[in-house]
C-alpha cells in the first residue's frame, strides 16, 4: 500500500498542510526543527493511533488549537481509501473511514500499515522492558487489529487487580498492630479476618480474568516472536554485513519451569499458558499482597536481545545497538509484508545520519524494492544518492513543504541550495 495524499490541520507545527506522495522513495529534507518528522509522525498516527515520540495527544495539537485533524488517502490494490482522525486531547478521538464515521477509532486500524524507524527506537535495545513489550504489542495489532481489544482488556484487568491489591495490602500488613491505619473495623463492620477472606475471594476472580486474557496476549506474543526471529537475524546481518547471530528470546515472569520453556522458543497452547499463569500467581501471592503489585503476567515480561552469546543491552556498541533496532524494524516490515501480502509504508526518520557509509548503502539496497519509503534527513547528502535519485525529494522549511523536481533533487547534494530553493518555491 502507499499513502497518496496527506492532509494536516493544526497538527504539531502545521496550521495546515497538503502533501501529495507517490509510490517509491520520497525524501524530506530540511534543517532541524522545520517539521519533517511531524509529517511522518502523522502517517504513523494513522496506522497506530499513537505517536512514536510522545505518549499523550496534547503535544500533537498545534499550540492554541483545540483539535488536530490528520487525513490520509491510502491506495491498496489500486483502490483508494480515505482515513481521517480528529485528535482532541482529553477526549476520545473520532475517526472516519471513507465518508462514514466509525464507532470507535480502533476500527480504522489496519487501513494504513506502517513500519516506522526513528532515533527513539534505540530504546528498543537500550531502554526498559516496556519498550520491547510495546514493540511486540504494536506489531501484533498491526498484524491483526483484533489484538487491540485483547490488549486494552488486559490493561483494564491489570488496573482493577492492582487497585484491589493496594487496598488489600494494609489488611495483610498490619497483622500485629490492629490499631494501625484506617482499616480498623468499626462496630458492625467485618473484622480483619473476614475482610482478608473477602479480599482473597475477590482476588481469585481477578486472577481468573487476568490468566484468561493474559494467556491470549502471551500466546500471541510468543507466536509473533517465533515468526520474527529468523528475519531479525537476516536483517541484522544484511545491514551490518556480519554473521553476528542476532537473536531475541522471550523472558517471561512465569514460574521458572514455564519461563525456561518459553525462553527456548516453545509456544504452548493458550490453555496451558493460562494454567501456568494461575500457578505462577499462586506462588507469588504472598509477595503480591504484601507489595500491592501484580507481579506475574505479560506486563512484567521482557524480550532479551542478544548478539552471539552476549546480551545486546550493555554489551553492544552504539552502532551495533542502532543496527539491532533497525534490524528489528526491518524484520517487522518483512513479517507484515509476508502476512498481509502487501507492503506496509516504510518510514525511516532521521536514520541515515547515524550510520556509516557501508550501512547506509546496504540499507538503501534492502529498502529499494519496498512499495513506498518515506525518508527524513537534515542533510540530504546523508541519504544514499541512489535512493534520492529513484524518487522525489521535498524541502521542508518552517512548516512548509515544497516540491523539488526529481532532477533538481538529484543535482543538489549540498543542503544550502535545497533550502534556498525551498524559500523561492513556497506553495
Amino acid at each position: 500500500m502507499h499513502v497518496r495524499h496527506l492532509t494536516l490541520k493544526d497538527f504539531r507545527s502545521y496550521p495546515s498542510a497538503e502533501l501529495a506522495l507517490t509510490p517509491g522513495v520520497t525524501t524530506l529534507v530540511g534543517r532541524n526543527g522545520q517539521g519533517k518528522t511531524n509529517l511522518v509522525e502523522a502517517i504513523g498516527y494513522l496506522a497506530t493511533l499513537g505517536s512514536h515520540r510522545v505518549a499523550t495527544d496534547q503535544p500533537l495539537v498545534r499550540f492554541g488549537a483545540a483539535q488536530a485533524i490528520v487525513r490520509g488517502a491510502v491506495v491498496r490494490d489500486d483502490r483508494e481509501m480515505m482515513v481521517e482522525l480528529e485528535i482532541t486531547p482529553g477526549r476520545a478521538n473520532r475517526a472516519r473511514l471513507g465518508k462514514a464515521p466509525v464507532a470507535r477509532p480502533r476500527d480504522v486500524l489496519g487501513t494504513v500499515r506502517t513500519v516506522l524507524f526513528a532515533p527513539e527506537d534505540l530504546a528498543l535495545v537500550k531502554g526498559d522492558p516496556s519498550e520491547r513489550r510495546r514493540f511486540l504489542d504494536d506489531l501484533l495489532v498491526q498484524r491483526q487489529p483484533r489484538w487491540a481489544g485483547v490488549r486494552s482488556d488486559y490493561d483494564k484487568i491489570l488496573k482493577q487487580r492492582g487497585a484491589l491489591l493496594k487496598q488489600a495490602a494494609p489488611l495483610f500488613r498490619t497483622r500485629s498492630g490492629k490499631g494501625a491505619g484506617r482499616h480498623t473495623p468499626r462496630a458492625g463492620e467485618p473484622t480483619t479476618a473476614e475482610a482478608r477472606e473477602s479480599a482473597l475471594h475477590t482476588l481469585d476472580v481477578w486472577d481468573t480474568h487476568l490468566a484468561t486474557v493474559g494467556a491470549q496476549l502471551l500466546y500471541a506474543r510468543l507466536r509473533l516472536l517465533r515468526d520474527l526471529v529468523p528475519d531479525l537475524a537476516e536483517c541484522y546481518d544484511a545491514v551490518a554485513e556480519t554473521d553476528a547471530n542476532a537473536r531475541a528470546t522471550y523472558k517471561s515472569s512465569l514460574h521458572e519451569d514455564a519461563a525456561k520453556r518459553l525462553a527456548e522458543g516453545e509456544v504452548p497452547e493458550i490453555e496451558e499458558l493460562r494454567v501456568a499463569i494461575l500457578e505462577s500467581i499462586e506462588r507469588v501471592r504472598d509477595q503480591e499482597v504484601e507489595r500491592g503489585v501484580c507481579l506475574v503476567g505479560p506486563h512484567r515480561d521482557d524480550v532479551v536481545l542478544s548478539l552471539g552469546d552476549l546480551p545486546a543491552k550493555g554489551y553492544a556498541s552504539h552502532g551495533e545497538s542502532w543496527s539491532f533496532a533497525l534490524g528489528l524494524k526491518l524484520a517487522a516490515y518483512r513479517l507484515l509484508r509476508r502476512d498481509l501480502g502487501d507492503d506496509p509504508v516504510l518510514i525511516l526518520d532521521d536514520v541515515f545520519a547515524e550510520l556509516d557509509t557501508g550501512r547506509r548503502d546496504r540499507l538503501a539496497e534492502l529498502v529499494a524494492d519496498c512499495e513506498q519509503v518515506l525518508i527524513t534527513a537534515a542533510v540530504g547528502a546523508d541519504v544514499p544518492t541512489r535512493l534520492r535519485e529513484s524518487g522525489h525529494t521535498y524541502a521542508v522549511e518552517l512548516g512548509h513543504v515544497s516540491a523539488h523536481p526529481p532532477s533538481a533533487a538529484a543535482a543538489t547534494d549540498a543542503v544550502e541550495s535545497e533550502s534556498e530553493s525551498a524559500e523561492s518555491g513556497d506553495e
Binding site: R146, G149, D153, K156, I157, K159, Q160, R161, G162, A163, L164, Q167, P190, A195, S198, A199, H201, T202, D204, V205, W206, T208, H209
Partner: protein
C-alpha cells in the same frame, strides 16, 4: 454567566448525569418560559421522589413501600431470582415480559478502582434470601463488561460452594437480533461462536 437564580439553576442542572453546560442552559430557559403549574409539578415530583421512594427490603429495587411491586406480587415465581446491577436493569428485563421470577439488585459491580468490593454490594442480602431454601435458580444478569463479568464470576463461585443444589445460570451474550452479522464487533461475534446452539430440526 447569567445573574443569580438563573445561573444557580444552570449550575444545578449541569451536575446531572448526561447534562452538559449547553443542555443545562436550554433546560433552564425552558423552565423559565414554562407555566408555573408545570414547574410546580416538577418540583413536587422531585420532593416526593426523595421523601417517598425507598429501597425494597427484599430485592433492593426502588419501591414505594417496604417491598417493591414485584416482590409483593404473589403471582411472581419466587423460586427464581435474577441478579442485576441497577434498578434500571430490572426495568429493561421487565420490558421483555419473559421473566416471571423476582429480582435482586446488587447496586453496582465489583470494581476495585472505584473502591467497590463484594461487601459494598448487596451480596449478603442475596445469600440470606437463598438461605430459605425456596429458591431453585439464580440467573446472573450483570453487564457483559469487565466489571460485570468479574461480579458474575465471583457470584457463581460463591453460590456453587455455599448452595450446591442451586441452578446458577448466566445470560447469554451474542448477536443482536435484527442486526447484520457484518456489523458485529469481533468480541461479540467470538462470544456468539462460543455460545452457539445445536439447531433442532
Amino acid at each position: 454567566m447569567y445573574e443569580g437564580a438563573v445561573q444557580d439553576l444552570i449550575d444545578e442542572l449541569g451536575r446531572l448525569p448526561g447534562v452538559g453546560p449547553k443542555s443545562a442552559q436550554r433546560i433552564a430557559f425552558h423552565l423559565l418560559q414554562a407555566d408555573a403549574e408545570d414547574v410546580t409539578r416538577l418540583v413536587t415530583a422531585l420532593t416526593e421522589v426523595k421523601a417517598k421512594v425507598r429501597f425494597c427490603e427484599e430485592c433492593g429495587n426502588v419501591a414505594q413501600g417496604e417491598r417493591c411491586r414485584i416482590c409483593a406480587d404473589p403471582r411472581r415465581d419466587h423460586s427464581a431470582i435474577c441478579v442485576v446491577e441497577e434498578p434500571k436493569d430490572v426495568v429493561a428485563i421487565e420490558r421483555t415480559r419473559e421473566f416471571r421470577g423476582t429480582y435482586h439488585v446488587l447496586g453496582g459491580a465489583i470494581s476495585p478502582i472505584d473502591g467497590i468490593g463484594p461487601d459494598d454490594l448487596r451480596v449478603r442480602e442475596l445469600m440470606q434470601r437463598l438461605a430459605g431454601g425456596e429458591v431453585q435458580e439464580v440467573i446472573i444478569a450483570t453487564d457483559p463488561n469487565l466489571e460485570g463479568e468479574a461480579t458474575a464470576t465471583y457470584l457463581s463461585r460463591l453460590l456453587r460452594t455455599t448452595v450446591p443444589d442451586l441452578a446458577v445460570t448466566r445470560l447469554a451474550s451474542g448477536l443482536p437480533v435484527g442486526g447484520d452479522l457484518e456489523y458485529a464487533d469481533e468480541v461479540t461475534l467470538g462470544r456468539a461462536f462460543e455460545g452457539r446452539r445445536r439447531v433442532d430440526a
